[in-house]
């Protein structure tokens, strides 16, 4: 007789149908990216006349040339790196020691401090008081304001605290008997033991920094300080109204659509580059933070 099959006919049909549906989902997830890439490499006229669907038409890199020749594009790119790197460092410097302290049973008023942190998840003053506060602190239009003003994060603190609490006490006790103080226990024992949790909160911090745009848009006034996302918004939303740009279109192969698509592609690239590396962490991370919060 034929080979023994673990699954019945119905089950195999189910499996094939499912795989087909998942493939469709994957394609529809990818399609917008493919479309944007196709547009970015197409001639403006081809896009305007609606010829582009999945592959570039009249292949050209004119849009990229135009984007990469913008000084402001490079400035904002650099700024995003500054905000992401220093912002993430600021976050870690605040939340790791803080979460460690909150995880110590000997901390006086531990319940109060935990509530003090968690309360900010339930209630916050809102946009206007936050803005006025930044203004009062003199942090408008400042690199430092963006870096420090968004460094804390109750959610990440709670994730880390929970993780620290799950570390067996004997690790700390052994270090104490070997002569470690709290700083050393944290640095030499808890941080190395909590790499997964720290990677998770670092990932959260990096993603939110890289993608953050609203407060950068509100708080930053000078063009030379804006991050990439604000620059993107400016160009995508405001390019249409830019008369100089509009007049330049007449004699160029690029169009408003191809240029904005090129900007988007260029700004996604770093995300795509680090994506494979962070991927293995966010499964773990979501679980740490996930439902348990």
């Amino acid at each position: 007789m034929g080979s023994f099959n673990l699954y019945s006919r119905g089950d195999r049909i189910f499996g094939v149908a499912n795989a087909f549906l998942v493939t469709l989902i994957v394609i529809s997830t990818l399609y917008p990216f493919i479309y944007i890439i196709a547009v970015s490499f197409s001639a403006g006229s081809a896009v305007t006349s609606g010829q582009v669907t999945i592959h570039p038409v009249d292949l050209t890199i004119a849009a990229y040339k135009r984007v990469l020749s913008e000084k402001l594009f490079w400035t904002s790119y650099r700024n995003t790196f500054i905000y992401t790197i220093f912002g993430t460092i600021a976050t870690l410097l605040i939340i790791i020691p803080g979460a460690y302290a909150l995880s110590r049973p000997q901390l006086l008023g531990r319940r109060f401090w935990n509530f003090f942190i968690a309360f900010t998840l339930w209630f916050h003053a809102g946009m206007i008081p936050f803005f006025l506060n930044m203004r009062d602190l003199g942090l408008l239009d400042s690199y430092f304001g963006i870096i420090i003003g968004f460094a804390g994060n109750a959610f990440s603190i709670i994730i880390l605290r929970n993780f620290f609490e799950s570390v067996p006490r004997s690790y700390e006790e052994a270090a104490r008997m070997d002569g470690a103080n709290d700083f050393q226990v944290l640095w030499k024992v808890y941080i190395p033991l909590s790499k997964a949790a720290i990677a998770t909160v670092t990932l959260f911090a990096i993603v939110s920094r890289w993608n953050g745009f609203f407060w950068a848009m509100v708080l930053l006034r000078s063009e030379e300080k804006i991050p990439l996302q604000v620059y993107l918004r400016k160009t995508i939303v405001a390019l249409v109204a830019d008369e100089e740009f509009a007049s330049s279109l007449l004699e160029e192969v690029y169009s408003f659509e191809t240029v904005s698509a090129a900007i988007m592609v260029v700004s996604i690239i770093p995300v795509l580059l680090v994506y494979p590396f962070i991927q293995k962490y966010f499964n773990k991370g979501i679980l740490l933070g996930g439902v348990k919060e």
Partner: protein, 323 residues
Amino acid sequence: MTETVSQQGVRDAPTTGKFEARVRWLVRHFRKEWQIYVLMAPMIIWFLLFLYKPMYGLQIAFKDFSIFRGIEGSPWIGLEHFQTLLGNDQFFRAVGNTFIIAFLSLAFAFPVPIILALMFNEIHHRIFKKMAQTIVYLPHFISVVIIAGIVINMFSPSTGVVNNVMGMLGLEQVYFLVQPEWFRPIFIGSNIWKEAGFESIIYLAAIAGVSPTLYESARVDGATRWQMMWRITLPSIFPTIVIMFIIRVGNLVDVGFEYILLLYQPATYQTGDVINTFIYRQGLQGAQYDMAAAAGLFNAVVALVLVTAANALSRRVSRTSLW
């Protein structure tokens, strides 16, 4: 060097007794445990400065605030701003839109990650599964600015691919982004595209926790894959679904206004303007700080009530509170 590590810490604290004994205990405590307070200090200071101090500033919702007089110097005017808001059609519209968009999201966006997780779970080819997941998670990491850019590009009236395809099919072209009736479908649809994949991780984790012996015994009993999905997988992750639903209800008014801000236009305010975008326009663009702060307070109180109710509910349902 007069210190001991007490792992029980505060459990050793005198709970009764003389004031003097407690002071002595405190002095000893801080002398040996000062390091953890030093470690905690930056976090506490940050929270006070950036999250609690603005709460003090919330009082401008009850004041005739002017930047020049400052928070303290501005005179109290009671509930005047709230009365103004009640008479403001735009505010009413924003509150209505907030809840409509929130409920539509709950109805349409909430089930998608669950379905996705069930589908991923039924893929047995490991590499295909891994690749599919990797791709579907990706949009989560793309900023809303780019998402908005892609949407604007794709749905643009003359050049966007959507209208082109509709044109090819002989349909009339639609300028989606300026038509109020299209704002919500586009907003919610693109949100699903961006987040559903990533949100499925939680359900996949819950599924991974289901004991394989349940499936094995079901198979011995002759269950089909479809039956196993309905009768084992889904019931097993039901607690997770409930918790996620409650969390979602708790964050109901948080409708992703940054994305709305990027997507809407005056023409679509009618269906797209939510409380936070209203606050942004009135407060940060229009400099009506006090009235916008009042609207923000309204928003925050609604959020607090919802989140507290959700937490109480989850404590009931799952016997574990969310925090």
